[in-house]
Amino acid sequence: MSTVLAVLRKDLRLELRTFETLPAMALFSLSTFVIFHFGFNQAAIAGQLAAGVLTVTLLFAALLGAGRLFVAEREQGGFDAFLLAPVDRNALLVAKAVAMFIFLAVLEVIAVPAFGLLLLGPPLGPRLPGLIAVLALADLGLAVIGTFVSAIAIQTRARDLIAPIIGLPLLIPALIATARAAGPLLAAHGSGSPPTKWIAILALYDVVFALIAYAVFDYLLED
């Protein structure tokens, strides 16, 4: 547990000092909203379309951030140092996933209001509680899969290519569930609560992949 906290503290401090990943993710999301605006040629969108735009933007921003997750370890020899230390290896997975989750949450604090301002037709305020619940579950899945994919890709030659091509298909079920859960929320006369079915699927996805990632992460680290 203390290992997790130590690695997490290191990652957060690194980000606070360099401001490398988070601003890039936020800028990427804003640019994507602008692109969607011109792509659809619509001033305001609602319902399933809005949910899709938001989910896809966050998904790509997450993959962008995930690509940077292990770069410091790779370049500064942090993997070797971690392997030499007498600590549970899964601590690295947990710490990185938590860091990724925090990055995503901060990103959404910026990106979701911006989305409400720039693209969303119906007012964001009353939909916020439901949306936060959906996005929290989605972030969990994104953090776990992002960390896992990033840990695989960092050791490959074409790592910038490998992470997205593996990550995107793996995240499709989460994307479906998130978009479908957020769709009714963002509709013009939507209800305040997201559909339970999709919340349940999203939660199932999170739990299953968190367990699997925890089970296999060990094998990615040993050398």
């Binding site: 050791q155 030659r157 593996i166 992949f209 699997i212």
Partner: protein
């Protein structure tokens, strides 16, 4: 070194026999489908291809667990060949499914069919297996990472099917509930024989490929010991285990 060729002949004979029987049943025994007519004959090809392909992916994941547990690279090769064959079967299943969709619904692709859609997603995921291997040079790490990927991707298969199945608003009539629940008896028999034939074909090709790979590795080894290291072309960048 194990001999993978043992029993291959028996397997080939069984496969050929079953496929001939299956084809005979499909075209001369099974009645025409009341709704679909002659076009339904594709079903006996497409569905077994898809089922065997999916089982092949999961099979590859199970073999990958064997590699992670034992660290024996032979398991990695088995897993590689299983996924490799399943990909080939999967592409076949996708193409035949597309032809069926065109004939019976008028479109080459139909997003409202959950099985077709989730099958595409699974195929997209497993299509990254080879690029992933290709991108890792160290053979030991290549085997390990590929196994980890195979395990995760195999677990992804059922979860993906749940999500996509639920995502469709209206679902096409399930002509097939696994095992052919609501088919008339003669059609079910035909389908099951076709499925058996396809599974045997998969097993045969898997075994054949393993035998071929094994033979190549032995020849390489002989060349190295007889003609020296220089006579063996360096393996270089390869996606295949060696």
């Amino acid at each position: 070194m194990t001999t993978f060729g043992r029993g291959l002949r028996t397997l080939v004979l069984a496969t050929v026999l079953t496929i001939i029987v299956a084809l005979a049943l499909v075209f001369f025994y099974a009645p025409l489908d009341a709704d679909q007519g002659f076009i339904q004959k594709i079903f006996y090809l497409h569905v077994p291809l898809a089922i065997v392909s999916l089982c092949g992916f999961v099979f590859g994941g199970l073999l990958a667990i064997g590699h992670l547990r034992t660290r024996n690279r032979a398991w990695d090769m088995r897993s590689y060949v299983a996924i490799h064959m399943a990909l080939i079967f999967g592409v076949g299943g996708l193409i035949t499914g597309s032809i069926w969709a065109k004939a019976s619904w008028g479109h080459w692709w139909d997003w409202s069919d959950p099985t077709l859609t989730s099958f595409l997603i699974v195929l997209l995921l497993f299509a990254t297996y080879q690029p992933l291997r290709f991108s890792i040079e160290d053979p030991e790490r290549q085997a390990r990472y590929a196994s980890v990927f195979a395990v995760v991707a195999a677990a992804f298969v059922p979860l993906n099917f749940i999500a996509v199945r639920l995502a469709q608003q209206f679902v096409h009539p399930r002509i097939l509930t696994l095992g052919g629940g609501n088919l008339p008896g003669s059609m079910r028999l035909t389908f099951l024989v076709s499925l058996l034939g396809m599974a045997l074909l998969y097993a045969t090709l898997w075994k054949y490929e393993m035998t071929a790979k094994n033979a190549r590795i032995q020849v390489r080894r002989l060349r190295r010991s007889l003609l020296g290291d220089d006579s063996v072309r360096p393996l270089g960048r390869s996606a295949a285990p060696s």
